[in-house]
Symmetry: C2
Subunit: 286 residues, 2 copies
């Protein structure tokens, strides 16, 4: 008997980030699931989340999911490491009927898969690092892993300014990574998790500093794979053979969003197609 298809299969996947960083995840989703309709929400009015408290990030994430769920949505991807670290379980509890996935578990999974020795470094925003979400997720998958984490908040500004490569960027990256690379030579890192969706924009500069012995992993691709798996498991995959639509929502500055997005997204975004929403009007269901 053919597997039944959920009536929501043609609904969109909502993708949410504090700003533009989550577009690296949107790229991977677009590639893995070309037929899916994608609605991206960037909370540009309150970006960045990486230096804000758990309480604020949780409230912001609630409002974002509420705004997305007011549309025809079958799943939500929290494409922001900070919001995934601070708010994912909370959001999943608030929306039991909605598929809500984050980027931390897939990132931890990718790291555990590529790491030879289990000597794993994590670079992320200040809030994600303090929250230790990556450390916990990695240890759940690989209890013998040795993990070191380092906040690299400056990388967010570099990525948004389009400072992605070159000598000066590598010098800045080297200075930020120094504590991670020199600490405790008893267990030299073999893997480094780019634990912020902005960081893949600096991948080249980071690789130049870390060298060939350290594998870099980000969660974009593994998140897209996880979303694909879950949709299949729940018979929610869109079976249409035509390319899905792309919708962009922001909470501030559509023009700036479209401009800065070029640093993170593979397709051109027309500023006129970016819809401005007032997120404070969305009451939380949590």
């Amino acid at each position: 008997m053919a597997k039944s298809v959920d009536s929501r299969s043609e609904y969109a996947i909502g993708v949410f980030d504090s700003g533009v960083g989550g577009l690296t995840v949107l790229n991977a989703l677009r590639q893995a699931l070309p037929e899916e309709h994608l609605v991206y929400l960037g909370d540009t009015a309150r970006v960045p989340y990486g230096t804000k408290s758990a309480l604020s990030v949780r409230r912001y994430a609630e409002q974002a999911v509420c705004a997305l769920s007011s549309r025809q949505i079958k799943a939500i991807v929290v494409a922001c490491n900070t919001a995934s670290a601070m708010a994912l379980e909370h959001l999943q509890a608030c929306y039991p009927d909605l598929l809500v996935l984050g980027v931390i578990e897939p990132g931890a999974d990718a790291a555990c898969r590529v790491s030879q020795q289990g000597h794993i470094g994590v670079i992320a925003t200040e809030s994600t690092t303090n929250n230790q979400a990556y450390q916990k997720a990695i240890l759940r998958l690989r209890p013998d892993a040795r993990i070191r984490a380092q906040a690299c908040s400056l990388f967010v500004a570099l990525a948004e300014e389009g400072w992605h490569e070159g000598d000066l960027v590598e010098q800045i990256v080297a200075r930020c990574l120094q504590p991670l690379l020199v600490a405790d030579s008893q267990f030299p890192l073999d893997t480094l998790v780019l634990g912020c969706t902005h960081f893949p924009a600096l991948r080249g500069a980071i690789a130049a500093v870390t060298g060939d012995d350290i594998q870099l992993v980000d969660s974009a691709q593994t998140t897209a794979e996880a979303v694909k798996c879950e949709l299949e498991a729940k018979a929610l995959q869109n079976k249409n053979q035509i390319r899905g639509s792309l919708t962009f929502l922001v909470t501030d500055g559509p023009e700036r969003f479209a401009r800065v997005a070029t640093n993170f997204f593979n397709e051109r975004i027309d500023p006129g197609s970016v819809e401005l929403i007032d997120i404070q009007h969305y009451a939380s269901e949590c």
Copy 2:
């Protein structure tokens, strides 16, 4: 006959910024007006303002002034260049009974006073630069001035991270200032306005790049002088001879605020003394 004293003279001065940058203005106020009570509000839940739209900055500024004016306040200093550029006139119109001052006019005044040739550069956030508030304020005071402006958003992140000096910081500063310093050698700059309250933290590195021929000015001291003048003119100065109190309010992360504040404020701030307020509860009177 002795000049009458307004009954509000012992009320506090409210000082408002998006985060910690305005503490450079608070330092100057503390020095110029040691007997005044000061209430500082940092909107750390929505920092930074410098990459946000005029609409959002205006709404955030309205809520901040509303929160401050619910206390015993005789004057408000908008100690944030972006909010001064985007919202000052609007706030003054909304609160006609309150003395509301910004940092742009005093900064422009300082620049015009020290500039020999009237060849003035302005570095600021993206929003302040786009708004051209400094250009307009300088030209009002000195119509023959020639002005060049450059957004240096990266300096905010450097200042907050405590990257204030050293070779690498100077290289970053040099790269950011390059378009300003090489453009149009017909009129080499003689003065550079630090048009963001974060930038004085990088003054040493900026001076190392610009050299002795360019005078650096920031608006902290001239803003404090302007506040002093206005209080005197309105008989609102506190005549008590004892040192005024300091109160800190933030909209997110009191601990982080107290920690990062050490990069900008001369006195130690006890995290326990920083009060967290929910700014969204303040309805605007505008």
